[in-house]
Symmetry: C2
Subunit: 334 residues, 2 copies
């Protein structure tokens, strides 16, 4: 039952987490091929007790591969997922290349696992900020049918990759010591700031939304299989290294009390409720970093509408928001 696996984009922030997650969850890997761009040629990465050389992504590289995890950018996925699928691999793609393709399942295993078997060689992993949102919304949707969501994100710089994390640290040191700093990744100072533009270099869309905001709208609807859910998203980069936080206002068709919501979330798969304000306990990015669950707290009724709830949702964007969700999909394929 063990599988031949390829990780495409193995040297990136998400790729490295994929290797760690495959190992830590004991995924049955018969052989592992690590693929990346030509820049990484000659690199070697550890997996379990072995060192594996990184190879370039070529059409031939997928021969004999059964499961291919992609996280090397949309253009790489757009070109190589179809080739890999034709060569017999099942691709789990962490980019946006196929997410909104009607023939490609967009899967969060806690939410819509039944879609996995519909794949035709490609399964899409949703955007990090969407995954943690729908994991927390699903139990509330089952209880009271979600009608509208207003979400504001506090997204960590690791969503922009390992170099972005280094840039935040270096810029922070520069600000503290009043040195000048030349940015490479972000359009504005991210140290000690809040920047409402994600991704940092993509053009804004018609209507003034960012690409990230539109992803949250469309992917939430597709995963919950409710094209009529209203989603208003504002996505903001904050000087946090790892884990995204989300302030979420939910309107349901039927009343869901805070107590009912809490109870449903406590029982929900993949969710950890941290909600003890009397002891100053609520989810925090620094505590979620490196952990698997989607943490939910600050669960309270919003009296500005009849059926309103507020939630504070925090999860590690590189784990549940990317690598862990992809490996969980792969586990369902076994």
């Amino acid at each position: 039952m063990s599988k031949t696996v390829a990780v495409v984009g193995a040297t990136g922030a998400v790729g490295l987490e994929m290797l760690r997650v495959l190992h830590s969850r004991g995924f049955p890997v018969r052989s592992l091929r690590l693929l990346a761009s030509a820049r990484s040629k000659g690199k070697k990465l550890r997996f379990a007790d072995t060192e594996i050389a990184v190879e370039p992504v070529t059409p031939e590289a997928f021969a004999g591969i059964e499961i291919a995890l992609f996280s090397a950018g949309s253009s790489v996925s757009a070109e190589f997922c179809p080739l890999a699928a034709r060569a017999g691999a099942v691709c789990i793609d962490n980019t946006s290349a196929f997410r909104m393709d009607p023939g490609t399942p967009l899967v969060v295993p806690e939410v819509n696992p039944h879609r996995i078997r519909e794949h035709r060689g490609i399964l899409a992993n949703p955007n990090c900020s969407t995954i943690q949102l729908v994991v927390a919304l699903k139990p509330l949707h089952d209880l009271g049918k979600v009608r509208r969501v207003v979400v504001t994100t506090f997204q960590s710089v690791s969503g922009a990759g390992a170099r972005a994390m280094a840039e935040l640290e270096e810029e922070t040191r520069s600000v503290l010591s009043k040195r000048t700093f030349v940015r490479d990744i972000f359009p504005h100072q991210i140290a000690f700031n809040a920047v409402p533009q994600i991704p940092q270099k993509a053009a804004f869309l018609d209507g003034g939304h960012t690409v990230e905001e539109l992803k949250m709208v469309n992917e939430t609807r597709k995963i919950l299989e409710e094209p009529s859910i209203g989603v208003s998203a504002t996505c903001v980069r904050v000087p946090v290294l790892r884990a995204h936080s989300e302030s979420v206002n939910v309107e349901t068709e039927r009343k869901v009390t805070a107590a009912q919501a809490r109870e449903a979330l406590v029982r929900a798969k993949g969710v950890a409720v941290v909600d003890d304000p009397a002891n100053q306990l609520y989810p925090l990015a620094t505590l979620a970093a490196g952990k698997d669950p989607v943490y939910v707290g600050r669960i309270r009724e919003d009296s500005s509408i009849p059926n309103g709830l507020n939630l504070w949702i925090v999860s590690d964007n590189l784990l549940k928001g990317a690598a862990l969700n992809a490996v969980q999909i792969a586990e369902h394929l076994l």
Copy 2:
């Protein structure tokens, strides 16, 4: 026409800004008395070209004072504002002590200046996060009548005072160099984090809201004179030194297009529209720090409801959010 002025809490983060704003706006000060707690005894502060000794707050200290600006904590205001008012001073109080008192006007001069003349010796300055919200909401309310607001704040540490700013800097240095750090002000690591609890030491209220969140609900209704406006607030501390950012979703009774909103905000007093996403221009805390306006950008229609708008509102919490608004009220008294 010049006035005898007292600043109570003169040595604090807001008190020092009050001195700067009085001077920079050329407020006609005949004489200035600086009051603070016994801790500050012996301190001297500069105002214009003179050095002024800080005196303790006592009932006698208000003799002959015409205008008293208070920013030394609610308990000091609760005790001394009535005494100062009885001695003939008009108090402009930056604490929450009298804000929700029905007999005390709660004033943002751009929004409800007509309330100023109703004072009976005390005028309340609203909470920082409320002031910047209502300055941006007022022109939209005039256009389409605001029905509901969902706001999530990104609040800087200067709202917790000068020592909190030092704590963020020191903790940030410690995290970067992997040293341990013993916090004094904040309940959790604030460096590289987002903490959904403001104020940092007050108990949560029934229903799970924080004191800051309830302030935003109640003060917004009082200032806009619309007790039926629905307000859902989530207040979050972020590792920003100065200036609060707010992600705001507005529902109006009559349709207001993004173009109409932008036009009204461009004309609105106290507002600076920064909204040119094609050139990556939107309000930022680092750019608003030390400046007077309420900056508004990311103005866009929210298609999840018929009459929805999203805004990104940023302003200096120590200036328009505190000292500047108080001095503007004082100017109306001249």
